[in-house]
């Protein structure tokens, strides 16, 4: 079960945001400006059920998330949601995978210690006996060019969204 982040888990100066997570509600997250580089040569792999609850994850996922495996399994995948990500990106993800399509995108993920990391993610529906039973997400190392383009795009989309939930707590 997803919980609010606690300041004791965060290293260094942080900002507090309340983000609105689809199907869950508001979550308090604490973020710092420190980026953790994507590990060379690795894939970060996780699987969820159809509601977005994590059912499996590989060791790279655990290491990069900054959480323990026990804390991840059974929790909403949106535990990774960073407040700099626009909601519309995840809406397109869910629209695509629920329609049985593959989704690709550049994503800024939030770690348990408030740091962040960028990935290029591909999400695919897991079809068994003709039914979608969950989703597999595989992340790989993105280029800095794509990250720069994504930062600019997401800033613009966030401004357009003007969410009442996202943004520093005043």
């Amino acid at each position: 079960m997803l919980r609010d982040m606690q300041s004791t888990a965060v290293v260094g100066d942080f900002r507090e945001y309340h983000i609105n997570l689809y199907g869950f509600g508001a979550r308090k997250v604490l973020v710092t400006d420190e980026e953790v580089p994507y590990p060379d040569g690795k894939l970060i792999v996780s699987r969820t059920d159809t509601r977005g609850i994590i059912t499996h994850c590989n060791q790279s996922f655990v290491e990069m998330s900054g959480h323990t495996r026990e804390a991840l399994i059974g929790t909403e995948h949106s535990i990774l949601r960073h407040p700099d990500m626009p909601g519309v990106a995840f809406k397109s993800l869910w629209d695509d995978v629920e329609a049985g399509k593959i989704w690709h995108g550049y994503v800024k993920n939030l770690r348990g210690d408030g740091k962040f990391y960028w990935v290029y993610a591909t999400v695919i529906p897991n079809v068994r006996d003709g039914k979608v039973v969950g989703y597999t997400s595989v992340r790989r190392k993105p280029s800095r060019t794509k990250i720069r383009e994504s930062i600019a795009l997401y800033k613009q989309l966030k401004a357009q969204e003007g969410s009442q939930w996202d943004g520093p707590e005043v």
Binding site: Y120, V138, P142, S143, K146
Partner: protein, 259 residues
């Protein structure tokens, strides 16, 4: 039962091996074929195709009954041809090493430039993973010059001759190069994707023998001469693969193949 057994002995099934087998293990597959027939009581013909295209054509024509397959082809075998994966080898990994000449100015993948000349074999999973590892340099199939050669020794040769800027190696093949060659080359990055592996798959005509084949492979180290055959293949043994393990690997490969 005797009649059915008689039929089985007369039916010749085809065993084939992913064409990326390492040369030192070719004889191992012939020994495996003999051992398998003796212990399973079925008649197999071992067909070693010299290219992935030739092997895929045989699969399309339903000629193949038992295959040690590259993970890249597992999707087609399982979802289009009704094969079932039964075991995977222990002690071998399908990892890819990205290599440049030792004197190359390239120090990390991100230093590679568009139009880079990329040498690789037709080994599909290594090529796929190699191209993924070039993505941080904004390189893709559309902006590199791909040079496909007939083996990993020739990938090394292309780098040494200066006809390629970067090469993809199966890790085992890279490790197997002589010290003299490796000293003239420099690895930039090695993949660490343990979830992608070759698997042994049983075809529709052998579906009645799935459990026998899986059980035999799992007991192989304990059965007479089995350990020696495994050694000749370069495997430590076989591990069980269930239906969901296979589906998961196929989903994973599909995410990597998608563009």
């Amino acid at each position: 039962m005797g009649w059915a057994g008689g039929m089985n002995m007369e039916t010749i099934y085809q065993l084939t091996v992913s064409p990326d087998f390492t040369p030192e293990h070719i004889s191992g597959w012939y020994i495996y074929n003999t051992w398998l027939q003796r212990n399973l009581g079925l008649h197999f013909h071992l067909e070693m195709y010299d290219s992935f295209d030739a092997q895929r054509e045989a699969i399309r024509q339903d000629k193949v009954d038992l295959i040690y397959a590259n993970p890249y082809d597992a999707s087609m075998l399982v979802r289009e041809k009704g094969f079932r994966a039964v075991v995977r080898p222990i002690g071998v990994a399908d990892e890819c090493v990205i290599v440049v000449p030792a004197d190359s100015p390239v120090q990390k993948v991100e230093d590679l430039q568009p139009n880079a000349r990329v040498a690789s074999t037709d080994d599909p999973d290594i090529h796929l993973v190699g191209m993924i590892m070039l993505e941080p340099a904004d390189l893709n199939a559309d902006n590199v010059q791909s040079i496909t050669v007939d083996g990993y020794v020739l990938v090394a040769k292309a780098l040494l001759k200066g006809s390629a800027d970067v090469g993809f190696f199966l890790k085992d093949a890279w490790d197997g190069l002589s010290n003299t060659v490796r000293k003239q080359l420099r690895p930039l990055v090695t993949s660490q994707i343990s979830d992608i592996q070759h698997v042994l798959l049983v075809g529709p005509r052998l579906m009645d023998s799935v459990e026998d084949i899986q059980g035999l492979m799992l007991r192989m180290p304990q059965i007479e001469k089995g350990a020696g055959v495994l050694e000749a293949l370069g495997f430590e043994g076989w591990a069980e693969v269930d239906h969901e393990d296979t589906e998961f690997m196929i989903d994973l490969m599909d995410t990597l193949k998608a563009r």
